[in-house]
């Protein structure tokens, strides 16, 4: 149970306060309602590049990191398909430094050419390090455009290609800032040993004068229903063949999401899961096998991925996966399995509420979904799932015409 208070400034900034008196540090988490899905298809990777530029100095403060570190703080940020999230932690006595820094970069960036030049290079190196110079690093660059033809989830947060990052111009940076980095497009959560009145005062003082920005009505193209199974085969310099099967599923937060999420746990969470025991241990087909949901805010993907043991034929490996998926369509999962994954969800949530920053992120995300109070309703939604719900969802999702399969083969064979 996470307790919180909420208020809204006149400029539309939503502020949530979570008091945790046990925490020696405080945090500020600011979620901007913009992600890679909001990008121009010809300028992909921009939301993430922009996240880097948010550290390149703001209108009154030439360097974001230095003053924060000087008061004992630390920060980071991440960009997903859906959101861009910035967070910092610092000693509670120095909370105001966080307000000073975050409000200045919401007010305006410095728009330094040097910063843009450097961060373009840094992001290109990130592209190489994480997506190109790693075995299996480009899987998502291949799988997403296979599964999506229209919806912007077809590209990754890093972007479709390095050229899009190289082409980013200062004009794009300014436009993006004006459109998305305004108080009415943000949710701020302050957590730690803080008082509501103090946070109200500081929020008003530092953020109150930032002008409201435009309203952004998101109108993304809807992915048309997939009518036939898709496959793609690639060869790469990797040691082992692998397979990735993606199925369209419901959006995070929807009623259908919870049974599907539990189903992925039954199939692959931990050493007692089905795929691990049947396909890795008993049939010895894989040395690594996983099933997971992407958890996106628009309709996402259910993915099954595995690395094949040497000498195993791809068709045998795939048939074994299909067999397990057919089983959950035909038979109800057992009472014990369902209890197990529900217990696991319950304890995962309990453990995740140890850290004040984690709680702040959860609150911000729930508020984006509609209401911060949703954080305290998650467990109940998982506990309400029945074996029949799971079977029904499995039948909706695990259909050949709803699948995109990537065969990622070792070139040396």
């Amino acid at each position: 149970m996470i307790k919180f208070e909420k208020f809204v400034l006149d400029n539309g900034l939503r502020v949530i306060v979570h008091q945790d008196k046990s925490s020696p540090i405080s945090c500020i988490n600011i979620l901007y309602d913009v992600g890679a899905r909001d990008e121009d298809p010809e300028k992909t990777g921009f939301a993430h590049l922009f996240e880097h530029l948010m550290f390149g100095g703001s209108v009154n403060i030439p360097n974001y990191d230095e003053p924060l570190q000087r008061v004992g703080g630390e920060n980071n940020a991440f960009t997903t398909n859906d959101i861009t999230n910035y967070y910092l932690t610092l000693p509670t006595a120095n909370l105001e430094t966080g307000f000073w820094l975050e409000s200045d970069r919401m007010l305006s960036l410095a728009f330094s050419e040097k910063s843009l030049d450097v961060q373009r290079n840094v992001v290109i190196e990130e592209f190489k390090q994480r997506y190109l110079n790693q075995p299996y690093g480009d899987v998502w660059l291949l799988l997403k455009p296979l599964a999506y033809k229209v919806h912007p989830y077809l590209w990754s947060t890093i972007g479709k290609e390095i050229k899009h990052i190289e082409d980013a111009r200062m004009e794009d940076v300014r436009d993006f800032f004006k459109r998305y980095y305004c108080p009415n497009n943000a949710i701020m959560v302050v957590g730690g040993n803080v008082e509501l009145e103090e946070v109200k005062h500081l929020s008003e003082k530092w953020f109150g004068s930032i002008p409201k920005g435009p309203e952004n009505k998101r109108n993304l193209p809807k992915e048309p229903k997939q009518m036939e199974g898709r496959t793609l085969t690639v060869e790469r310099d990797v040691p082992l063949n692998s397979i990735y099967k993606a199925y369209h599923m419901s959006a995070k937060g929807s009623k259908e999401y919870y049974p599907v999420d539990l189903l992925s746990d039954i199939l692959s969470r931990g050493n007692s899961s089905r795929l691990y025991n049947k396909l890795l241990k008993e049939k010895k087909l894989f040395n690594d096998i996983n099933a997971y949901v992407t958890g996106d805010l628009d309709e996402g993907l259910f993915v099954v991925s595995g690395k094949l043991n040497e000498g195993v034929k791809m068709e045998d490996a795939e048939a074994a996966i299909d067999e397990e998926l057919a089983l959950v369509k035909e038979q109800l999962v057992t009472v014990d399995e369902l209890t197990k994954v529900k217990n696991k969800v319950e304890s995962t949530i309990e453990f995740s509420e140890m850290e004040v920053l984690n709680k702040a992120m959860e609150l911000a995300f729930a508020e984006l979904l509609g209401n911060a109070e949703l954080v305290n309703k998650e467990v109940g939604k998982y506990l309400a799932v029945t074996a029949e719900d799971i079977k029904a969802e499995a039948n909706k999702i695990f259909r050949k015409e709803n699948s995109s399969t990537l065969y990622y083969l070792s070139k040396s064979k």
Binding site: Q69, G72, E74, W100, V118, V122, E126, Q129, N343, M354
Partner: protein, 427 residues
């Protein structure tokens, strides 16, 4: 509305006091020491069983890690799948961790389910059976992971660098080969388990909501004398280290898009008086986002996604390293800049302004690292491993606050001479 000053940093305070909750010691009936941190807001508990059964204790490669991770793969009464079911059913998490110095088995549980989880953990600790077919599966999977990681410049660099600075006679420097897994037998595993996983070679650290029920249950399941090791407490003598005489080393890698760079040397661990001030020097050089290496090589030049340095403490010694991955086309330029930064820190005093920044950042990091029961338990473990007590942290914080620019310059001259540093390029 009163005009606000956006140009100057608001008044701030330096952290003058960090209150650590200290671990309380007790003993089980069989004398296993139990260290307790009772703190936090959630009804959860973490129990760590720490055995002096690290990689350096093994006589044959990869045995210690195999025992550690295979301990849940079967007992005389239950199969691996049954054990996994019993742990997962009550929402518990079981983790295994192996390092050069120690082997750790950790159970995370909600307090309300702990009593149901402990019996299976007791079986695992006292009666692991390492079935032959599970050994085969383990070997097959480890080999697959090995060949995949052999395709990553960073993994290859990490292993090769350890070999270069420690030498392969010492376990810290031994570079595991694929064939080592083929030579692993069930007998090796079983015999290591019997020699090292016993009540006379174990310590327990418990953190979270720790009440008398938890301690009583621990004594019930782990407090008797029926699970001693075969050979009594292990004896271990650290072999000599043997750093390579070749300063510049390269592993060629066709088609690499980025090169992994490592520069460093063996140094000392946290029992050495220079350890804390060297952490301060290291932080300024490459230990945080605003460090000199990061500011120059990432934030000014854009050669890399990240660069950092560290001073790592291990029981037998410690080491210093700089690590990054850079585009192949800018590799030489990056190396030049790295050496330039080392030279600068060796030849010029750090300004008071920069030093204040680094000090405050490190104090903040310390505060963060002591937040919550698990973190407090980690703080305890990292002194226990070296036979130190909590006064170590008083001295550490004192050193962070009071080491002078002159003293840092002396340290840099003493420990960061360029000819003493080993360089490795992979890719």
């Amino acid at each position: 509305m009163v005009a606000i000053d956006r140009l100057t940093i608001p008044d701030f305070k330096t952290i003058d006091k960090v209150e650590l909750i200290e671990a309380k010691q007790s003993k089980l009936d069989n004398n296993i020491p139990v260290y307790t941190i009772n703190a936090g807001t959630q009804g959860i508990v973490r129990i760590e069983f720490i055995f002096t059964a690290g990689i350096k204790q093994q006589q044959k490669p990869v045995v210690a890690a195999a025992v550690n991770s295979m301990i849940v793969e079967g007992t005389s009464k239950h199969t691996a799948a049954q054990i996994a079911d019993m742990i997962d059913y009550y929402g518990a998490f079981f983790e295994t961790e192996i390092s050069q110095d120690n082997a750790i088995l950790t159970i995370y549980s909600l307090n309300k389910h702990l009593l149901k989880t402990l019996p299976i953990i007791e079986q695992v600790l006292k009666d692991a059976s390492f079935p032959e077919h599970e050994v085969e599966t383990y070997v097959r999977n480890r080999k697959s992971k090995y060949i995949v990681s052999s395709k990553k410049v960073s993994s290859v660099a990490r292993k090769k660098f350890a070999e270069l600075i420690f030498g392969s006679q010492h376990s810290y420097g031994y570079n595991v080969q694929l064939e080592d897994y083929d030579k692993l037998t069930r007998e090796d595993i079983s015999s290591f388990y019997k020699s090292f996983y016993g009540s006379n070679n174990c310590k327990i650290v418990v953190s979270g909501k720790v009440d008398d029920n938890v301690l009583t249950a621990l004594n019930k399941h782990f407090g008797d004398n029926n699970w001693k090791t075969d050979s009594g407490a292990s004896s271990y003598n650290s072999p000599a280290f043997n750093t390579t005489s070749k300063q510049k080393n390269i592993v060629q890698w066709e088609d690499a898009i980025q090169s992994a760079l490592r520069i460093g040397k063996t140094m000392f661990n946290k029992t050495h008086p220079d350890y804390a001030p060297m952490q301060l020097l290291n932080c300024a050089l490459g230990g945080y986002f605003g460090s000199r290496l990061m500011s120059n090589i990432r934030e000014d030049k854009g050669y890399t996604y990240g660069i950092g340095s560290g001073l790592v403490s291990m029981q037998d010694t410690g080491y210093f390293f700089i690590s990054t991955e850079v585009g192949v086309d800018v590799r030489e330029k990056a190396l030049t800049e790295i050496y330039k930064e080392i030279k600068t820190i060796r030849e010029n005093l750090i300004s008071e302004n920069e030093l204040e920044l680094v000090r405050n950042y490190m104090l903040g990091t310390f505060l963060r690292s002591a937040s919550g029961p698990f973190a407090l338990a980690d703080k305890f473990k990292s002194i226990m491993d070296y036979g130190l007590d909590y006064t170590y942290y008083d001295k550490y914080l004192d050193s962070i606050r009071h080491t002078t620019p002159e003293q840092l310059l002396e340290l840099a001259k003493k420990y960061l001479q360029e000819e003493s540093l080993i360089e490795l390029v992979v890719g």
